[in-house]
């Protein structure tokens, strides 16, 4: 008897490697964390509905709490009935803002007011507002605040934001395909760091997707196969067995130094997008931290003080046990807005005030970070990396702030050391003129370098095919940077996604790169690719 084929192949782009056979399930209501503004009437009604729902959730929750817990929840409920608090939110909605953005903006403003002053009790009320903010946002985006187990293990979503990605329990799901996004979006970076297979830019099939439909997520070649035929499953089975053999080989290399077939030692550092991930990574598997993204420090919307920052950097130094730790100064802007720090309403944020450009506009934020970093440098080889550098003057301006921070610490008698100062090479202008920069090291940021060289926005799935890491112009700029570093006698590494993709390793080693900073989950596979090179 012949099989009636219902197989459908949807194409997209591989964003985080993997191959999974399972059941596809739709992640419901992923109008998601960025609502498109409906008409003011729609937004008003959606907001009112979300507030009602949040109120009901809080009241139900309060019933299960003791008196103190209930008191706190009662305050949150009362805030949802506070006309003075809600009036500006509704006014913003009337003016055409999406309900979620209006809500976030007003509550964030209130949070700032609560944080002012001396009294710890009143400062702590800021947490109540943040809690409330999340609850209403969850209601606005049509999802439960509590985790719900979906019936299936391959998630299909219209879009997925970084925070939503982090909320999902990845022990329950094996992979995800989204219609939006691009392989260099931040969700892709998170997925790679955690080893969650991800396909982005998928053809839209959400309308017709059957619940728990058998599926193959092919995040090697960027496809989702629905209702696969038995012949397809057999072929996938063969590939899975080959991958398992590779995985076993990669696993066995985890704790070994990375060495090419010719016996040349390659340094493998890791990218720390969130220091919590480090707890699961044995430090012996790597040669240090090649990139610490400090944006996470600002994730709750407030500027962390010097002591809090110092403690985070200190923990990194402790974890690294004497290995080098590169910390990038705050890289806000572009697709990483931070309320109160980044500039709103830029017509082209990727070409606007981001990275060091923004830091130099707010030198007090940068100086505080430099002080905390110089203090942590007393504990080991900490290196400071400046993002989005275009011209040497920017490095010199940061150096002047660092000097000032060092003088202050000396005058105050606070333990510190002078950290090395290096820069990201991600703007083509910097890559072409690397010799002009007086720095202690370079780190190539391939994601932005590709974006700027190929003129393809990282958040635009429509141009993903053009944003090709192997475009000869990209490889030329990488090669020139490596050559300049060699002439100057300074270290150079690459910390973008290219370094985490085993397919790109030969091209990078070919051009003389000997230091790679990779996603923690990719260390074994990268070491295997290094082992097979040469």
């Amino acid at each position: 008897m012949t099989e009636t084929s219902q197989e459908r192949i949807l194409s997209g782009f591989a964003a985080s490697d993997g191959l999974v056979v399972g059941r596809a399930v739709r992640l419901v209501s992923t109008a998601e964390l960025q609502r498109l503004a409906g008409s003011p009437e729609e937004e008003r009604s959606v907001l009112a509905g979300a507030i009602t729902r949040a109120t009901e959730e809080l009241e139900a929750l309060a019933e299960t709490q003791d008196e103190m817990g209930a008191g706190i929840l009662e305050f949150q409920t009362a805030l949802l009935e506070d006309e003075d608090l809600l009036a500006p939110v509704y006014a913003a909605v009337e003016a055409g803002q999406p309900a979620d953005q209006a809500w976030i903006r007003i509550i964030d403003g209130e949070v700032t007011e609560y944080r002012e002053g001396e009294d710890d009790y009143f400062k702590a009320r800021a947490d109540d507002l943040l809690d409330l903010k999340e609850r209403v946002l969850a209601a606005l985006h049509g999802r439960e605040t509590a985790q719900v187990k979906l019936d299936g293990d391959i998630i299909i979503a219209r879009d997925l934001t970084p925070s939503r990605f982090l909320e999902l329990d990845w022990s329950l799901y094996r992979g995800v395909a989204v219609c939006g996004g691009s392989p260099t979006s931040h969700v892709a970076i998170l997925a790679r760091a955690r080893g969650v297979p991800l396909v982005v830019g998928l053809e839209d099939a959400l309308e017709t997707l059957q619940e728990a439909c058998p599926a193959v997520l092919d995040a090697e070649s960027g496809r989702l196969i629905l209702a696969p035929e038995s012949a397809t499953l057999e072929a996938i089975g063969r590939r899975l067995r080959a991958r398992e053999a590779d995985d076993a080989a990669a696993e066995s290399l985890l704790g070994e130094p990375a060495v090419t077939a010719q016996g040349e030692r390659i340094e493998i550092l890791i990218n720390a997008d969130d220091p919590k991930v480090l707890a699961e990574v044995p430090v012996a598997n790597c040669d240090g931290i090649g990139l610490t993204r400090t944006e996470f420090l600002f994730s709750d919307g407030a500027l962390p003080d010097e002591q809090k920052q110092f403690e985070v950097y200190r923990d990194l130094m402790t974890w690294a046990e004497g290995r080098p730790v590169i910390v990038r100064t705050l890289d806000a802007g572009g697709d990483k807005p931070i309320p109160g720090v980044t500039v709103d309403d830029e017509s082209n944020p990727f070409l606007g005030l981001r990275g060091v450009r923004l830091s130099l506009l707010k030198p007090e934020v940068l100086k505080l970070q430099l002080r905390a970093l110089a203090r942590a440098a007393a504990l080991g080889p900490l290196k400071i990396m400046i993002p989005m550098v275009t011209v040497p003057e920017e490095v010199e301006a940061v150096r002047a702030l660092l000097e000032a921070a060092l003088s202050e610490l000396t005058a105050e008698g606070v333990a510190h050391a002078r950290p090395q100062l290096g820069m990201m090479v991600e703007v083509p202008a910097a890559a072409l003129t690397a010799d002009r920069f007086k720095v202690d090291f370079f780190s190539i940021g391939s994601n932005d370098l590709i974006q700027y060289t190929t003129a393809c926005a990282r958040d635009n799935a429509a141009v993903t095919r053009l944003a090709d890491a192997r475009n000869p112009a990209v490889l030329e700029l990488i090669g020139r940077t490596i050559e300049a570093a060699a002439r100057m006698g300074v270290e150079v590494s690459l910390c973008g996604d290219m370094a985490s993709d085993p397919h790109h390793i030969p091209a990078l080693l070919e051009r003389g790169l000997r230091r790679l900073s990779v996603a923690p989950a990719q260390v074994g596979r990268v070491k295997l690719a290094v082992r097979r090179y040469g």
């Binding site: 009662e74 305050f75 009362a78 506070d82 006309e83 003075d84 608090l85 009294d119 009790y121 009143f122």
Partner: protein, 104 residues
């Protein structure tokens, strides 16, 4: 909301005011703040409060505004009201503060 006139000889509606001291060692914290705004909302009058003589008058029906007074223990809360039930409203709120927000 619009500021109430501090002194008004030609006010068309009743004006009332009063004051009481916060006794709770934590100050005007979440639970009393919610009680205060709920009681204020039970009255039709426009009601404002401030913490201390130099404080800014805020809407007594807004839990957010009341909490942001950050009124500490021993501070004097001033209450003023205008409109229907103004007198009753001030008396009720002052009594609530004086009995340390306990139920009657």
């Amino acid at each position: 909301m619009s500021e109430l006139p501090a002194e008004s000889s030609d006010a068309k509606e009743a004006l009332a005011s009063g004051a009481a001291t916060i006794q709770d060692p934590t100050g005007l914290h979440a639970r009393p703040a919610v009680k205060l705004t709920k009681l204020a909302k039970a009255h039709d009058a426009t009601i404002e409060i401030r913490a201390g003589e130099e404080g800014k008058w805020v809407n007594a029906k807004s839990p957010n505004a009341v909490m942001k007074l950050k009124a500490g223990s021993g501070e004097i809360l001033f209450v003023r009201a205008q409109g229907a039930q103004a007198d009753e409203a001030v008396k009720a709120l002052v009594a609530l503060i004086e009995r340390d927000f306990e139920a009657e």
